[in-house]
């Protein structure tokens, strides 16, 4: 799964670069507009190490932001799973807030908190929080009647058991959503760094943009792609391992 993610990205990246090079050749554009392969390779030699460090910096914020959003999504999702007044209120609020573009709120966060680690973390977690929350609320609010019936009628149902049953029955969905939210968290962090920050790959891309240095941006995109592919691959592998450990397949699928 991990290697599949990486080579899928490499194919997409190679296609993108080839497309731009085709435009460059077709329209006889200068290296200033679209850099040629020698310039890209030269820039890679110079910037690969510092940009890798920047991407790792961004990734650390991404991972922390994603962990925060997973924790918050589960806490609110579990609280909002009931069809009580408070549960309905949480669901309606979540649906309404998620419709609002979080990036648009970024300037407020930067004005109030300034540049730095906390605003990046907040934006990263907020961007992946709402899609996660909607999935968790959807899963937690849907009863698994065939399993829960016994515990309800015999008075054994506790909220912990209810959550466990619903999480277990939707393990595939949950692991997919969590792995998918990694991209959102990374995008959120980069956007935050791009708008106003003093570290991270988004900040470096902003500098490259001001220098109109597309080769640097290609290198940054390459590293972002590789790192996020590896991170997502690790999350998916972890998800698979959890599924294999916690559940067990039927004797074997015939049909």
């Amino acid at each position: 799964m991990l290697f599949r993610r990486i080579y899928q990205f490499l194919i997409v990246y190679a296609m993108g670069i080839s497309f731009l090079l085709a435009i460059k050749v077709g329209l006889s554009l200068s290296d200033y507009v679209i850099p040629g392969i020698p310039l890209i390779l030269e820039t890679a030699g110079q910037m690969l190490a510092p940009y890798f460090s920047d991407v790792m910096n961004t990734l650390s914020v991404t991972v922390l932001g994603q962990c925060m959003s997973i924790f918050m999504a589960f806490a609110v999702g579990i609280a909002g799973r009931k069809s009580s007044w408070i549960g309905s209120f949480i669901k309606v609020t979540a649906y309404n807030i998620q419709a609002y573009p979080i990036v648009a709120l970024a300037p407020i966060i930067f004005i109030l908190l300034g540049d730095g680690f906390i605003p990046r973390l907040m934006i990263a977690s907020m961007i992946c929080y709402f899609p996660l929350l909607l999935s968790v609320i959807g899963i937690m609010a849907t009863p698994v009647e065939d399993i829960e019936h016994f515990y309800i009628v015999t008075g054994r149902m506790r909220w912990q058991l209810e959550v466990k049953i619903r999480a277990f029955e939707n393990l595939n969905k949950l692991t997919t959503v969590i792995a998918g939210s990694a991209t959102l968290a990374m995008a959120g962090t980069i956007v935050a760094e791009f708008i106003a920050a003093n570290a991270g790959i988004g900040y470096s891309i902003r500098i490259a943009l001001y220098q109109s240095d597309l080769a640097k941006i290609f290198i940054a995109l390459f590293l972002i792609g590789i790192v996020i592919s590896v991170y997502q691959g690790i999350l998916e592998t972890l998800g698979e391992q959890i599924k294999n450990k916690w559940s067990i397949s039927k004797k074997g699928k015939i049909l």
């Binding site: 065939d146 399993i147 277990f168 916690w246 559940s247 397949s249």
Partner: protein, 230 residues
Amino acid sequence: MHLECHNLNFTYPGSDVAVINNLSFSMTKPGFNAVFGPSGVGKTSLAKIIAKKDADIDGRITNQDIAVILYSYNLERLPGWSSTGTHLNKVTPPGKTELRERLIHIFELNDVVHSRFSQLSMGQQNRMNLIRYLLQDFDLLVMDESLANVDEKLRETIILAIKELFADKMFLYISHNLMEVSKFCRQILVFGKPSENKGSLMVQGQDYKQGYRLNKQSLDITMLEIMNAF
């Protein structure tokens, strides 16, 4: 022990067709009773109404000496994160360990208690589920096709064992097996086909117990009575 239903009517919200129409019946004494009829006549709806004491119904259901009613059905599942044996242990009330082991033996599930629920065959799943209910404190247990997918011989063994082990409890058995309900149930509530405007009828079953001797003639009469009722 007494379960009585007076002029019960039930229509699902949003539907114009009544599932249960002016139903009245009475079941007395502990033992195995049945609800029988073709699919879609309201057997499960009735069972759920009886089990859900606070159901909003048109009519009256009264009972005597029936405090706890449990409803089990054949599509129920046990959670899949640990073995069925572990789940059974967790839901066994104190003092019923011996009964649990006995039921596992009678239900022929000794070999699968270490397996997860999803690894069991459908018949094993239904048997495992039924054991959970039998271990609980109840006065009336509704068994809605709870022994579906179990072979006939074992089903007979299980029913006879339940009748012996839980002689002071009332059971409401929903099944599509004419022979089975005729043989083992005492009172059989037969639902007629609504398309033929047939109401419900209470038929006396043979109520066979452990070590019974088959009386073919009276069994045939019971079966004919049931067939004529729907």
